[in-house]
């Protein structure tokens, strides 16, 4: 297979081809490097390329396969990750000046698990400064640029993860999601992304932003890819007391394409009703694709949403403010202006309201599930209410008047971090300018297998996830 064909494989296809001996890890790596050389300059998606270490790891993987050694589920597949996961002895910048020289003293649990599964770590990817914007703007690194059109944002904060997977530089990438940071770049770059249930994936060694709402997620081409990645990184970790003891199901084995008997609720007030016409032009036909697989679609309007939205606005703001307080006092000029302002507003949230938002979180979740899932197994909503914006029209550092447009991007994604629910975003079409549109599939706590089953069934019925940016 030539390099152009190799990079068009999905992650699971590449891993399975390696396992069957149809391709070597070295061939996969060289194909990735070729594409990175072509696509990295125009997207600015790559921060660090560990080429020599990856070559060595590929050689080891090829040798191991030759000896008949047991192979992990990601054996031989090069991956790159958002630059915020510790690897001992390596710098992870978190997209910031403040962490520019910070050398990790441990390796993140998720990286250890990917290593154990045989994945090759090829380096790190662009991200919004300290994982805190929805676009991929970054004053220090330069903006990450959308592979479909470099004038447009990639989505953030896992900007490089979205761009690199879309441009076929790697087959999958880790991201993090505190308010939409996996789902937004997945939607805006036209790839698939998964934010797992709160606690499902350990966070040890991942840069903290909001202890209550941070999750580590994954981006890749297909729902099947997400399932395989999740099975590798999920599960309780003794070094992360917040990680859940819930058993990790075999998500990939549950992908059968059959949605008969499944009821899927469409979140209408706000989520759909507030969406732009071009978003709906992609989203509404997607419902027919799910019906074609046997699902029944029903409207859902949880009355508890205003409380969810109000409390959502308090938690991550307050926690991010706490984490950054010392630097905000001592070196505020080392932050981008929009980020500094966002953190700054967190200091104005009264402690009693922050505590209320946390103390009522369980009750709000119970009520949301009672209202939303009473007649539905899963929920659907557009990932964004608006089309993918340009970099200029959401650059609040260049013009503070863009602030409102910037902050509104994550309005459909943020609530599910407060609720702690698992959500996938999958491509469901394109707008008139050729930019991708994404759709969220939302499940009950720990229902990742069902979320991915619906996402996979949708992808068997459509080919939006197979579309590649034409520039590369």
């Amino acid at each position: 297979m030539n390099p152009e064909a190799l990079v068009e494989l999905s992650l699971t296809e590449a891993a399975d081809a390696f396992r069957r001996g149809e391709v070597s890890a070295t061939q996969l790596l060289e194909a990735a490097l070729l594409r990175i050389r072509r696509a990295a300059p125009s997207t600015n998606a790559v921060i660090r390329l560990d080429e020599s270490q990856a070559r060595l790891a590929a050689h080891v993987a090829d040798s191991a396969r030759g000896t008949g050694a047991a192979l992990g589920p990601l054996a031989g597949v090069p991956l790159m990750h958002k630059d915020m996961f510790d690897r001992e002895g390596r710098i992870s910048t978190a997209g910031s000046v403040i962490w520019r020289d910070r050398i990790a003293r441990r390796t993140a649990t998720v990286l250890k698990r990917l290593d154990a599964a045989g994945a090759l770590d090829l380096g790190t990817l662009h991200m919004a400064e300290f994982a805190q914007n929805a676009t991929g703007h970054n004053r220090h690194l330069g903006d990450c640029r959308n592979p479909w059109n470099p004038d447009h944002v990639t989505g953030g904060s896992s900007s490089g993860s979205g761009a690199a997977v879309a441009a076929r530089m790697v087959w999958g990438a880790l991201g993090s999601d505190t308010g939409g940071s996996v789902r937004l770049p997945a939607a805006m770059c036209g790839v698939s992304g998964l934010k797992p249930t709160h606690g499902r994936v350990p966070r040890t060694g991942a840069m903290p932003l909001s202890f209550s709402t941070d999750t580590v997620g994954v981006l890749a081409r297909t729902a099947r890819d997400l399932a395989r990645l999740l099975e590798v990184i999920a599960g309780q970790d003794p070094t992360d007391p917040a990680s859940s003891a819930q058993p990790v199901p075999s998500c990939e084995a549950a992908l059968d394409g059959d949605l008969r008997g499944m009821r899927i609720g469409v979140l209408e007030p706000g989520f759909v009703d507030g969406a732009e016409e071009e978003v709906l032009r992609a989203f509404l036909p997607a419902l027919d694709a799910l019906r074609a697989r046997g699902a029944t679609l029903v409207p859902v309007a949880p009355a508890i949403m205003p409380a969810v939205m109000a409390y959502t606005a308090l938690v991550s703001r307050s926690e991010a403010a706490m984490i950054h307080a010392q630097w905000m006092r001592e070196r505020p000029g080392d932050y981008g202006g929009a980020l500094a302002a966002r953190i700054y507003a967190g200091y104005a949230v009264p402690a009693s309201l922050y505590a209320e938002a946390l103390a009522r979180r369980g009750g709000v979740l119970r009520e949301f599930c009672r209202q939303a899932f009473a007649g539905a197994d899963l929920l659907l909503a557009p990932t964004l209410r608006v089309r993918v914006p340009t970099r200029a029209e959401t650059d609040a550092d260049a013009d503070p008047a863009n602030w409102g447009r910037l902050m509104a991007l994550s309005v459909n994604t943020r609530p599910f971090n407060y609720l702690g629910l698992p959500v996938a975003s999958v491509p469901c079409g394109f707008d008139a300018r050729g930019l991708p549109v994404g759709m969220q599939v939302i499940g009950r706590p720990f229902a990742e297998a069902k979320v991915l089953r619906a996402a996979d069934a949708f992808q068997r019925e459509t080919d939006w996830h197979m579309q590649a940016p034409p520039a590369f």
Binding site: P306, R342, Y344, A345, C369, P400
Partner: protein, 67 residues
């Protein structure tokens, strides 16, 4: 809106409690955004019939799994 009386009060409070000055030209916008949050919370007042229990979220996640 960005220089509303409330935003100025919040800036003063932040300076006193945290020793942090408005860091950038966007700071007034960021504070003004909280006015909408305050309004949303005011509308909720008395409509959220939940007890406050600090440790219940993880328990709720388990309770709300699929039946």
């Amino acid at each position: 809106m960005p220089d509303s009386a409330l935003a100025l009060q919040m800036a003063d409070m932040i300076r006193r409690w945290h020793g942090i000055a408005p860091p950038s030209a966007c700071a007034p916008q960021a504070l003004a955004e909280l006015e909408a949050v305050i309004a949303a919370l005011a509308e909720l007042d008395g409509t959220v019939p939940f007890d406050c229990e600090a440790a219940q979220f993880e328990a709720a996640l388990l309770e709300c799994r699929e039946p």
